[in-house]
Amino acid sequence: MPFFILFLLIAGLAVIGWVAARGRALQLSRVHDRRPHSLPGHHGSYVALWLALPALMFLTVWSAVSPGLVEQSVLASPAAEMLPEAGIQRTAILSEAGALADGTMAAAFNEEAEALVPAFREANAFYRTIGIAATLVLAFAGGAFAFLRVRPDFRARNRVERVVMWALLIASLIAILTTVGIVASLLFETIRFFERVSIVEFLFGTDWSPKSATFGGDEGSFGAIPLFWGTVLIGAIIAMIVAIPLGLLSAIYLTQYAHPKVRTVMKPVLEILAGVPTVVYGYFAALTVAPAIRDFAVNYLGVTSASSESALAAGVVMGVMIIPFVSSMADDSLAAVPGAMRDGSLAMGATHSETIKRVLVPAALPGIVGGVLLAVSRAIGETMIVVMAAGLAANMTANPFESVTTVTVQIVQLLTGDQEFNSSKTLAAFALGLVLFIVTLLLNVVALSVVKRFREAYE
């Protein structure tokens, strides 16, 4: 019986349990002639939960454990004695035999596998029967235990509430644990990297030229300063020069000047910018903006070194991409400034724009700064645009018409294609990822605390 049929069976039993317990509770409340503590539905849910949860938990654990048990019993069988002692051959034969037994494979490559099939079938059937039986026993035991507790004064309502609380807690823990897991994996690989390359060279070196060292030769150098500089130039300087004024001014227009009808149209349209896939921005940058900027630089500014993959093209397009972030945070902060503040200024005879410049924007500034920091953290982690438009050369240049590279671009470069996962080159990607993670994390923490303090001031 496959897993999901068993699952359906348990679910069906839970429904039956729910109906039965609800009926029992209704009946009891009639007999005892007083209002029971919990509604009949709560008793029903209580029984259904007791019936389904332990059984399904066991089923989950069992399906994780049983393949190991099956393999053990197969290895203990007489047919397993002819297996090679260890190594790839042994594993291959075992997994082939397993697949043959399941019917997912029609014929074996290794003839030895055929011999193991009966043992596999036998073990499979044995453990499957145990699993199904135990699951059903658990379901019935749980259901019966809960059903016997159905009484008018039994507080099923509170117990069901507690299960809800646990379910919510687990849901949030999964998200947190995933983050912890990501950090841990980054951290371990990074430590391995720093066993090969010194941390000082990585953080302060200015020469970035990782090579594939197939035979233990020269692995190149890993000075990441050019990457950090390229990231800052594109994400924190050029993109912000575009996004801060445009985002802020559009937020001011939308909150202060726009007619409500205009606002209901323009605000969603502006937010569509945030929904455009970044790869689309990427080819817009690479195919349209970058050549235009290069031609402009060469023909009108006389910058002959202008590259067709320029920092400016990537930065400008990235700036456009994050306009909605800046503008929606600025919009919220401006809207959060109390109307009394605006009225106070207008009543002093200030004009609309004076009020905005001298009162509203200063009052909303913490929120706006928070939005900008969030936008920076988003920009420096952005990948597709820079991969397509910024180039690969690790240049240390302040000339925006030249090609620079960023942390994210290099991570993509280091990890794409067939790579060995124990060379300095691939491990460097994890070190870069960790740096990126730490920087964006700090930016987010600072931004959120700034925004939070601002909110407290006005609530």
């Binding site: 109390p338 009394a340 503040m341 605006r342 009225d343 106070g344 200024s345 207008l346 009543a347 002093m348 005879g349 200030a350 004009t351 004076e354 001298r358 009162v359 200063p362 009052a363 001031a457």
Partner: protein, 270 residues
């Protein structure tokens, strides 16, 4: 006495005119969308007086007050008709610049609303906007004079760079009065200036209104009848968007002419 004589006396007592009018309003209507908030109100605001507007909540007294410095302009759906004049000049006329009008007719709000700036900058705000000071020394003088007039100087003179929002509620409200005074207005409108304050802070504001009287024409909206009796010389009673009765404060409170006024001041409703 004949019926006509009685009516004549009634008309005289309910006269909207004062001897030295600073502002005059005639047949003012205010609409919010389709709803009428003010219905045909005519009233004079005297130069030498503190004028109080009283009435139950939603009677239109604040709405009418906000017509006097055109603050209703900031509400898109509000529409004001009728004739409101400041020193004989129509404030709703296209030749009247709203920036200048508001410099001459200052306003203090219900809730203290200092700007999130220093105490000094709060008071200097209007002077900066209207370009009243040409030097740092002049600005210092304006700030000091305004704070002194608002009775706040002694409390804040050592902490002028501190944020205005760090002051207590009563101090914030006096800061807002100082801010309004700093541009040297002729009329000061106060919209329930004490409703968010404790009794001690309220007493200080009332004392301040006494001191400011004569220098500025003051209009105060209040839902507190004792306050109106304490601080004002003239009182206007509004009800359901109309001006029911307007007269000397002492007269209106001791010998109200209209039945509705009498019911209100004796606490029958409101």
């Amino acid at each position: 006495m004949t019926q006509t004589a009685l009516t004549q006396i009634a008309e005289k007592r309910n006269a909207v005119e004062v001897d030295t009018p600073k502002m005059t309003a005639r047949n003012v209507d205010v609409f919010y969308g389709a709803a009428q908030a003010i219905d045909d109100v005519s009233i004079d605001i005297g130069m030498e007086n503190v004028t109080a507007f009283i009435g139950p909540s939603g009677c239109g007294k604040s709405t009418f007050l906000r017509c006097l410095n055109r603050m209703n302009d900031t509400i898109p759906i509000a529409r004001v008709t009728g004739d409101i004049r400041l020193d004989g000049k129509d404030v709703y006329d296209s030749s009247m610049d709203v920036v200048q009008l508001r410099a001459r007719v200052g306003m203090v709000f219900q809730k203290p609303n200092p700007f999130p700036k220093s105490i000094f900058e709060n008071v200097a705000y209007g002077a900066r906007i209207h370009g009243l000071a040409s030097s740092k020394a002049e600005m210092d003088e304006i700030v000091e004079r305004s704070l002194k007039r608002a009775g706040l100087w002694d409390e804040v003179k050592d902490r002028l760079p501190d944020s205005g929002t760090a002051l207590s509620g009563g101090q914030q409200q006096r800061l807002c009065i100082a801010r309004a005074i700093a541009v040297d207005p002729e009329v000061i409108l106060m919209d329930e200036p004490c409703s968010a304050l404790d009794p001690i802070a309220t007493a200080k504001i009332e004392e301040l209104i006494h001191e400011l009287r004569g220098r500025y024409a003051i209009v105060i909206v209040t839902h507190n009848m004792q306050q109106a009796a304490r601080v004002s010389q003239r009182t206007a009673f509004f009800h359901l968007g109309t001006l029911v009765e307007y007269g000397d404060t002492s007269e209106l409170f001791t010998n109200p002419h209209e039945e509705r006024t009498k019911d209100y001041i004796t606490g029958r409703y409101g």
